[in-house]
């Protein structure tokens, strides 16, 4: 189990941005777009054997020619303003091949990522994921930010379109970030490295959708762009968001009128009004999620 570095560049107190798959792949898409825009070079990888079951076998003319494993890759980029290391995990290591990492393997993976961060003298780690919220997909998603030390709170308050857990009614500053996008923060805290997790809001009714939600990724990317002081060309992401929005609208139109009516209520509570009681009861929410799940299943059969 180890890290394989392809090169050892001299980096000046880089920031590390790490992400693994999660709900709507919000963080992963944001970080991957950032990597692409930076034209970051491959730096190294975490060897997959101890963490993952292979994802693809290649057989040619009756002979086994290759086995592909989920990749966990580091990239780097020196920019005028800041050096950056990007980490992208294609899967979270999990014993039962579930979506989220847990236990010993999750801890080992987090430590290996931080070993690379420390080796290159990283100043700070950013991770990214999803925040499931009672919002409508036509609204601009906000970014929930969770630091691993109190000293970062004042800085987070300067980020645009960003809120802390304590600013969300009913949470009282409490919450849970599932999987490695969250765990990395905790392990970084243990090792004395500053870290912030940025989570883009995804509507509750899209939580289980079998497609990405780039609108939230765009919101995260904008915050990262500010925090890292790196200019991002938004065109690629905007096109992705437009395509996704059209697809979601098509699906939305197919929802039963009663469900749509309830979901439409989410449009009328602006972010400033989120402190009001939720407009949809838990029973309603359950029924809505079941109906949407049915719609996705029907859609995938038809598709």
């Amino acid at each position: 189990m180890g890290i394989k570095l392809y090169q050892e560049p001299q980096l000046e107190h880089p920031d590390m941005i790490a992400s693994w798959p999660g709900i709507g792949n919000i963080g992963l898409i944001a970080v991957d777009v950032l990597r692409g825009q930076l034209e970051a070079e491959e730096l190294g990888e975490i060897e997959p054997w101890d963490f993952f079951y292979p994802k693809k076998v290649k057989i040619r003319d009756g002979e086994l020619k290759g086995m592909e494993f989920p990749a966990s890759t580091f990239y780097f980029k020196r920019t005028v303003k800041r050096d950056v290391i990007v980490f992208l995990g294609e899967e979270q290591p999990s014993n039962d091949r579930g979506m989220y990492a847990e236990g010993k393997k999750a801890y080992q993976m987090a430590n290996l990522v931080l070993d690379v961060a420390e080796r290159f003298g990283c100043r700070r780690i950013y991770t990214s994921g999803a925040a499931v919220a009672p919002v409508h997909h036509t609204m601009t998603p906000r970014v929930w930010a969770v630091p691993n030390t109190e000293t970062l709170i004042s800085e987070i308050k300067t980020y645009r379109n960003t809120i802390l857990m304590s600013q969300i009614e009913g949470r009282d500053g409490q919450g849970m970030i599932t999987g490695l996008n969250g765990l990395l923060l905790g392990v970084a805290r243990k090792r004395g490295i500053d870290a912030i997790c940025l989570m883009g809001e995804i509507p509750i009714y899209l939580e289980g959708a079998p497609f990405a939600y780039p609108k939230a990724s765009r919101a995260v990317l904008n915050v990262l762009s500010d925090a890292l002081n790196i200019d991002i060309d938004g065109e690629q992401m905007n096109k992705f968001v437009e395509r996704s929005e059209r697809g979601i609208n098509d699906l939305y139109e197919k929802l039963p009128a009663e469900i749509k009516e309830q979901l439409d209520r989410l449009k009328h509570i602006g972010h400033d009004e989120m402190k009001k009681p939720e407009p949809i009861t838990e029973d309603d929410k359950q029924r809505i999620l079941e109906d949407i799940d049915k719609l996705f299943k029907r859609g995938s059969k038809e598709g």
């Binding site: 994802k55 693809k56 076998v57 057989i59 003319d61 009756g62 002979e63 086994l64 086995m67 014993n95």
Partner: protein, 276 residues
């Protein structure tokens, strides 16, 4: 037994350039268990080693099969006269890399294995009455060529589709390839409606292959008797339930079944063939 070597070794076998046959106990038509148990019994193979399964199975509880509580196991048997080692295991649920590494380490260091073969059941849409061949994939050209003399399907092209994963057997022979051990996966077709019970024809196909490949000299007339017995029982079912006969005839004529027909065939065969 320790973290590096989780096998408890009961005896040091005297084997050189031998062969290892690996099978999984949860397999279509119970093929893996049937092949290993049959060879172990016929060859008088002795227990050689057992793996400490605690690192590879969830052990959240026990599964119950046919009214009986089970516990996962991974055991090696050896038959020194035939230079043969047999491994039967439940499919590991986690830490696959360490699991396979442990198997290959004991196979190399303690058993001096030259070739490794996995055998498994492959669900087939063809009826049990149609003759079928074993499907082989080798991890090196030499072994692939040496298998040429056997009547196998050997020229498969395949890539794991999205949403699916490679089989444990493919993973094992890939790792064997990295360690320079010549290995092949062998798959014996099992008719889909026999996958929940047993398919003695499929078992015979596998045993007959190993018999020839490794010069085992095993008399397989008892499997022939099992095949005849199962044929007789299926004939009785067809007589009592003409729609079952009709479904099998359709498959023999290379016609597909609709979902309802397939489900009825599977349920009927599973229920009636398991009753004894």
């Amino acid at each position: 037994m320790n973290k590096q070597q989780p096998f408890q070794i009961y005896k040091k076998p005297s084997i050189h350039n031998g062969s290892l046959i690996v099978a999984w106990s949860e397999d279509a038509g119970a093929l893996g268990s049937n092949v290993i148990n049959y060879l172990t019994d016929k060859l008088g193979a002795q227990e050689l080693a057992e793996l400490d399964v605690s690192g590879f199975f969830s052990l959240r509880g026990v599964s119950v099969i046919n009214d009986v509580a089970q516990f996962p196991q991974c055991k090696l048997y050896c038959c020194e006269q035939k230079n043969l080692v047999l491994l039967l295991s439940n499919p590991p649920q986690s830490n696959w890399y360490t699991f396979f590494k442990s198997i290959l380490t004991i196979a190399e260091n303690e058993c001096h294995i030259k070739n490794l073969y996995t055998i498994g059941g492959m669900i087939s849409l063809s009826p049990h009455t149609i003759s079928a061949k074993l499907l082989a994939t080798a991890n090196c050209t030499d072994l692939k060529n040496s298998l040429q003399q056997y009547d196998l399907t050997r020229s498969m092209n395949y890539e794991t589709p999205e949403e699916q994963r490679p089989t444990l057997s493919s993973y094992l022979i890939w790792l064997a390839q990295r360690r320079g051990i010549a290995a092949a996966t062998l798959w014996s077709p099992v008719s889909f409606y026999l996958a929940n019970t047993e398919d003695p024809r499929s078992c015979w196909r596998a045993i007959d292959f190993f018999n020839r490949l490794l010069a085992l000299g095993v008399n397989t007339s008892d499997i022939a008797a099992k095949i005849a017995d199962q044929d007789q029982r299926i004939a009785e079912i067809k007589q009592q339930m003409p729609e079952i006969g009709e479904s099998i005839r359709k498959l023999e004529d290379n016609l597909g079944l609709d979902e309802e027909e397939s489900e009825h065939l599977i349920k009927t065969m599973s229920a009636l063939l398991r009753k004894r």
